[in-house]
Symmetry: C2
Subunit: 245 residues, 2 copies
């Protein structure tokens, strides 16, 4: 089977997703936060394109969450820090969610009719890889980037997934090979590289009270694999699969 890496959603039109498994990656922080939400027991997440659209779902018993430019949008229940989603109050709830990059990548790939869309983060990397291998489908690792530009942390994660899957997947394209090289170069110290990234600098400038970078680089602390079913992200029951942890 083949694995491709797409560095940013802006390059999606160059690819076909038909009959492939797409993993959407937004390490800092949307896809990490989604994993945390499902681990906490959230029922479903509706990815939406804009804060305006998101706001409408307030009337339909959704928790509404919106982030733009790394900060919570005023008037919303929640932002995009994973720490917010550890709150047990969220168990059983439904969330309408919009972020600068991650939810946009989900919406764009959904429009291209892939076999399935999974949510990836370091938190669930081994469970994710088990699910991918079980699919027996070609794989696309879609980095959400920052406003359609390349980012380091998403590419690094794509490389980490490829490293775990190297017995099962070939890397015929240069973007995949490059992502894998980046991971191998930094696998002993992912944090230093990610702290040098432009998005980590953005956090520093915003004086965030929580250390979201460190949190988002924890590996294999949960087994959830959020997956699109219709318009919603849900957490399907994991089935027996090969172990990657």
């Amino acid at each position: 089977m083949n694995a491709e890496v797409i560095h940013t959603p802006a390059l999606l039109p160059l690819y076909t997703l038909k009959d492939k498994v797409v993993v959407v990656i937004d390490i800092l922080r949307a896809t990490t936060t989604m994993c945390v939400a499902f681990e906490t027991g959230v029922n479903k997440i509706l990815p939406v394109a804009s804060p305006e659209e998101c706001l409408m779902f307030k009337d339909f018993d959704f928790i509404i969450a919106a982030e733009r430019n790394a900060v919570k949008v005023e008037g919303f229940d929640m932002g995009n820090s994973p720490f917010e989603y550890e709150n047990p109050f969220l168990a059983g709830k439904s969330i309408a969610f919009t972020t600068t990059n991650g939810t946009k990548a989900i919406k764009k790939s959904k429009a291209m009719n892939p076999h399935s869309i999974l949510i990836g983060s370091f938190l669930n990397i081994s469970a994710l890889c088990e699910r991918i291998v079980k699919s027996e489908k070609d794989l696309v690792l879609l980095c959400s980037g920052w406003k359609d530009k390349y980012n380091l942390e998403d590419t690094l994660f794509a490389g980490a997934v490829l490293d775990k899957l190297k017995e099962y997947y070939q890397m015929p394209d240069d973007a995949a090979l490059s992502a894998w090289c980046l991971f191998k170069q930094h696998e002993q110290d992912l944090e230093s590289l990610v702290r040098a990234s432009s998005h980590a600098h953005r956090f520093t400038l915003l004086h965030l009270q929580t250390d979201d970078v460190k949190f988002c680089l924890q590996q294999d602390i949960m087994k959830v694999v959020p997956e699109m079913q219709g318009e919603y992200l849900v957490n399907l029951t994991p089935q027996q699969a090969k172990s990657f942890s």
Copy 2:
């Protein structure tokens, strides 16, 4: 001063080139071949968008050169292998040139009104870096890629330029930092990485008679720095500059 890397021309709309020096990079092989042509003594090169347009210049005393999908287009005088351009017959001649990726990247960046457009290859890397530093302008390293997708060899070269310029330029964007990481990881053996690239595989499948990969990775064998002047690439006389070799 700041240095940015753009992985493919498809991402150009996300950037501004105004008042910046743009280096167009197509290591395998257009920008390497252009350097060889000027070293041979070619007078000027006209980058054109299509073989059809290129053909018109046959009537105006141009040598016409066209490559698509790594092979010479039928009916043209020349293709895109650097070895073809070492022919002394070309001294003083003008060439109309169209290639799959490189000439497209030049045309696209020209339309965005940069301060200047320079042509980069490993063959002229130190002379190129001298010219960049003398400009005292922000820098954009534009990888031509392959049909708008990311490629390894152009990114590797962008990283090599950044490494030479690191005392003069900052790398505020993740694409630049990633290119520099790729170069540092492979600087002792660029050839192995480039031979693993998809474009080198394309050459192998075509059973090319010359070893273009090895040729294109030679460093600092010439001092020419082709530059856009109006519609043409020309080789300006180098002025005194810092030494990077």
